[in-house]
């Protein structure tokens, strides 16, 4: 990975941004304990939408951890994203039950229709496509999550329609 210099965020910027206060609350609630790093990252992701360098540095400083370790943890876990996500999210489950019920075809459909691949966001920033290892909705395979709502028994057509609707918004 290319080395990158991280600029220290000015305290002025952070004061303006109330979202850092929300982080402070979680950090204080956990008594600045370093083992609360994952909890804090969860909160940061839900507050900021993704984990930008500023935020990671801020957390490192507050928890007195080396930035490399915070970066290491943030990149280790799949759920943490270091890139901004689209306005809508489409998660296709690729668990085994979904796999044997042809969930890869759902992905093919999105690739063909919208040139959208897992981990990508449409150029207009409207829709992000992700995959999940298993969301536990195996009884309804193949399953997808549209903006947090689990929808079972999907077909290539139903997934395409959903994404199409978002793009036309």
């Amino acid at each position: 990975m290319a080395t990158k210099t991280l600029e220290k965020p000015t305290s002025q910027q952070q004061e303006k941004d109330k979202r850092f206060k929300i982080l402070d609350v979680v950090i204080k609630k956990n008594h600045c304990r370093q083992d609360a790093l994952i909890e804090v990252l969860h909160k940061a992701q839900s507050t900021f939408g993704y984990l930008e360098d500023d935020v990671l540095l801020y957390i490192a400083r507050q928890l007195k951890l080396p930035p490399s370790e915070v970066f290491g943890v943030a990149t280790f876990y799949h759920l943490f994203s270091l890139k901004p996500a689209g306005a809508h999210s489409c998660v296709i489950c690729l668990g085994t039950a979904c796999y044997v019920k042809d969930s890869p075809r759902l992905l093919e459909e999105l690739a063909v229709s919208f040139n959208l691949h897992p981990g990508e966001t449409t150029p207009d920033g409207k829709v992000s496509l992700m995959t999940a290892r298993c969301i536990g909705a195996c009884g309804l395979a193949p399953a997808a999550i549209f903006d947090g709502k689990v929808c079972g028994k999907q077909t290539p057509e139903s997934v395409r329609t959903q994404v199409q609707n978002w793009l036309e918004e």
């Binding site: 304990r33 370093q34 083992d35 609360a36 790093l37 994952i38 909890e39 990252l41 969860h42 370790e69 290491g72 943890v73 280790f76 876990y77 799949h78 759920l79 943490f80 690729l94 668990g95 085994t96 039950a97 979904c98 796999y99 044997v100 019920k101 999940a132 290892r133 298993c134 969301i135 536990g136 909705a137 195996c138 009884g139 309804l140 395979a141 399953a143 709502k149 689990v150 929808c151 079972g152």
Partner: protein, 529 residues
Amino acid sequence: MEFSELQRIAAEYQAQRKPIRIRYCHAAGCQSCGSLAVAEALQREVSAQGLTEEVEVCPVGCMRLCGRGCLVDIQGKLYERVRPEDAPSLVASIKDDSITPTAPAGSYDHPFFAYQLPIVLENCGKINPEEIDEYIAVGGYQQLEKVLHSMTPQEVIREITISGLRGRGGAGYPTGLKWSTVAKMPKTPKYVVCNADEGDPGAFMDRSVLESDPHRVLEGMAIAAYAVGANQGYIYVRAEYPLAISRLQKAIQQAKRREILGSQIFGSTFDFKIDIRVGAGAFVCGEETALMASIEGKRGNPRPRPPYPAESGLWGCPTLINNVETFANVVPIIREGGEWFSGIGTATSKGTKVFALTGKVKNTGLIEVPMGTTLHRIVMEMGEGCADGKKVKAVQTGGPSGGCVPVEYFDTPVDYESLKSLGTIMGSGGMIVVDEDTNMVGLARYYMEFCRGETCGKCIPCRTGTVQLYQMLTKILSGEATEKDLESLRQLSALVKETSLCGLGQTAPNPVLSTLRFFEQEYKQLLKS
């Protein structure tokens, strides 16, 4: 809180119940089929038909036949695929037998239900998981009270040892032995950890238990903590299960308010606190040493064992790690006795096992059967084979760490040893049925792709081996491979299995070896002639 108060809460709760209960499934599966809208419609109908005095609409946990949701039960009658528009006829049928509800009726006499023996799932689908009083009303927390007041920690461990309970996370380590090892450790503090990082794709037993009966798991953990001498518990649960997380949070809060968790529980000297740790999407964190690293806020890298967590676990302290289903088995064992539990199952595997039956099977859902039930009974009778008249080819157990059992071996009774002899493992309990259309080489590659993406990268055999194996399988699938590649595939599989650091790498080649063993023909057909 005392025993008499538990009884008072139970009695009060029973008294305020209405005589007729409409139960609807409120777990994740049926929720995504729209069970909340169904519940609203039912509630509206009950008011409209003037039945509010005697009828109540109750949310309950998983009702098991997930493939046919939403499920609704009215006085012991099961209705499947219920939609909001079915509500008027459903509610009207309570008072008037001549009215046939528009929703299809199910039957509890169906083999899917008839062969089940609910011990872990005894409250699932019966009680409201978000209401502690309802759990207390069915005898909840009485075993914890009994243990604290009339049993020594040694007696509790003896009971668990007699029961023959083995870890339900997959490896099948004797639970009693694990507990006594932690109990004997002189170092304090000690920790109790519940592994709810159910990562196997195609498995959802633990999610269902947590969503349907969270207090059962909390009570089991508290009893375990008393037995081993711990005062702090952690539940490590996947972030992919938001409903399970919120129900656990609610359950812990309610238990604290009722003073069942906290200090001096039931007036004894025992203190116990439980915190939830939410995972962040790493399959390897299901491995116990990786899971502990993750609880400590680090990357989920496993470390070599020994030392085992029982000796040196969280922050270097003795730690008891058990799976959700293992903890859920504790309460019935204490209630009925270890002898009773050991009377169920086979010679080496006692009790029942919960399986998630999915894939190309007609009846998908959650089943709990005694150990030793044959695969034929599970797949062909309870699951009724394939939905569209296709032939069942095999069943995959144990997820990416397991293997497949072809249909010719379906008379095998399921227990830890029999599955091992077939080259697969019990695993956490996912059973994925595949039919004649499924390409087994493709399935093996699917699992290898999974392991390739989930390897933590710490040890070389797993990090590079899974990538190489994936490429070999891709080559075979594209018709470019020769007999020699097949040989290399075997060799590398054996190497990765023998030399990897943790369970993930050691078992990653299993799906390949297993499909090679039973479906070699499918590989051979793909070779370049």
